[in-house]
Symmetry: C2
Subunit: 116 residues, 2 copies
Amino acid sequence: MTTLPLLPPAAVACCSPVTGGILDDSQAETLARMFKALGDPTRVKLLSIIAAADDQEACVCDLTEPVGLSQPTVSHHMKLLVETGLVAREQRGRWAYFSIVPGALDALASTLASSS
Amino acid sequence: MTTLPLLPPAAVACCSPVTGGILDDSQAETLARMFKALGDPTRVKLLSIIAAADDQEACVCDLTEPVGLSQPTVSHHMKLLVETGLVAREQRGRWAYFSIVPGALDALASTLASSS
DNA sequence: CAATGGCATTGACGAACGTCGATATGTGAC
DNA sequence: GTCACATATCGACGTTCGTCAATGCCATTG
């Protein structure tokens, strides 16, 4: 079995490549929606914090202090990242743990690749 | 006249990788600024049109009709793409030719790569 | 049960964005 | 120089965005 063990969600085919022909409105909108999620310094930093965490996950309480914003604001950003499929949310007890969806960023990166 | 003397800057090392440790405010802002430029469906489509052109370049007159927007609006978007370093502008006669900066998208893609 | 703590939602505000029409700038043709 | 054309800039408009304080919801603890 040569198939990958897990993570089929956004990993393989998330969007059409930017440089692979003229995109129609739907494709352009889908891609732009993903990039827009990364178009805010706070969200970029949140992603980097989660990625740098020991177990690759973090709760809101771990995120508010590093970014210096209120809890509702951080919660708002995380919701947006979850909705775009870049981040996964898992409730464990009273805490909500956020983690970067495996392959999601790579899938986005592949839409920017020129050839290889 | 394009005010850009040369442009190797964004090609090689444009930004710090998202998943390569906690980004500071400056790094996050730089990255977000690039992604924000791709965070609009019109600009994504403009890029795809330029990339799909025969000689990898296009003037505003080639772009207004495909995106269905006014000339000032297209000009505005192109200015933004040029300012972020994703697109180069070259004036030839009465026309301004826009082309995707070689390596710019790849540099951005590399900031999203996890490892493999 | 009530109390506590973590997070989401709401409503509001100013700032930034996308779009347009009108106009300015600049280039080549006559 | 004058005209026509391609593009950029300006000013204005409605919409979206990022942020916060206040509040609500849910799970755990006593």
